[in-house]
Symmetry: C2
């Protein structure tokens, strides 16, 4: 089973998937998440309820699509093992956010923002999102590689990763509250600095920005 058929069937599948999700996000933003039923989404997208469930197993999945998990994991694997854990993880988070903030995907940025705001304001979505972050934490631990042998080092890695993701979440909430006006990578850097101290995150990524 090849991964990217790029055949007509696969393209139509991706298309309906995007259509369903777009209508869902729109309805959720307009009427509210709980006030919108799966049937509403199906009807708006012009498909049957079954098709919605085929593409998105749960209602929450209509909003939560974790597309940055493996990107972050890749960055961590690529980072030099000599650095402290917090710098490796934090750097990967900032880099991944920089990819999102890249000027080529300004159309997506609005979409990500709306979804994030939905996620933060809806309890069910917020809970699932936090659990996804917890899963991401485990992926990060796996990407760090070696430390699995010593239980004490593993514990420290878990603590470091969870704290980094907590900082990320804080930055995301602030970013959403500012309607995405702030620069997300810098916001993540500030959150990391607020947690771990300015010295451990500051000196490396940005060469010259002493003011702020």
């Amino acid at each position: 089973m090849p991964d990217q058929h790029s055949t007509l069937r696969a393209r139509r599948r991706a298309q309906t998937q995007r259509t369903i999700q777009a209508h869902a996000i729109r309805l959720f933003s307009e009427r509210g998440y709980d006030a919108t039923t799966m049937n509403d989404v199906a009807e708006a997208a012009g498909v049957s309820p079954m098709t919605v469930y085929r593409h998105f197993p749960t209602k929450e999945d209509l909003v939560l699509v974790d597309q940055y998990g493996e990107l972050i994991a890749e960055r961590i694997v690529a980072s030099s093992t000599g650095q402290p854990l917090v710098r490796r993880i934090g750097g990967a988070l900032i880099d991944a956010a920089a990819v999102l903030s890249g000027d080529d995907v300004t159309a997506d940025r609005e979409f990500v923002l709306v979804r994030l705001q939905l996620m933060i304001s809806t309890p069910a979505l917020r809970a699932r999102h936090l659990d996804n972050q917890y899963a991401l934490q485990q992926a990060i631990i796996g990407a760090l590689g070696d430390d699995a042998t010593d239980p004490d080092a593993a514990f420290q890695a878990q603590a470091a990763a969870s704290a980094c993701l907590a900082a990320l979440h804080t930055a995301l909430v602030r970013w959403a509250a500012d309607d995405g006006r702030t620069d997300l990578p810098r916001l993540i850097g500030k959150a990391l600095a607020a947690v771990f101290g300015d010295d451990i995150v500051g000196p490396a990524p940005t060469p010259g920005s002493p003011g702020d």
Copy 2:
């Protein structure tokens, strides 16, 4: 409406509440959370399904009872405002855990442990628990008091609180994995030290414990 009637009616209410929860936790542990229906819980507890919903609005509430939130908030309010944020929050978390680890409630400890293990292993419960921790974070921010005016200080407070709770969660997971054999307050201290450095948590709370 007085808070503690201590009348027969209130006592019976608390009793049935305990009974329902005890049977629920037992069934969840035996058959699994998803494989146990609310009707099963009601039948095991000898009440009608309606009564279960009266006492526990959602199925998740049968496991998740946040009884340490206000305890932590109290400690934070009582802490001296001169200390750094991380020390105030971390100290409150350790103190609250010390209350739990007190030798007078060894019977409860097993109950807390089983619930925690259920919480960690069941996705739905884990998600709700993480969201409860997020709510606790907001309560902590409120308990810190003043910093609401300056948005930058508020952001730093959010970051610090989220990181502290992340460390707490890491400690709780480890504690549950060890079946509660480890000393929880010390475990929280180690997690906080792993995140913020040994100097910021170590010197203050325990006068003499240099080994470990």
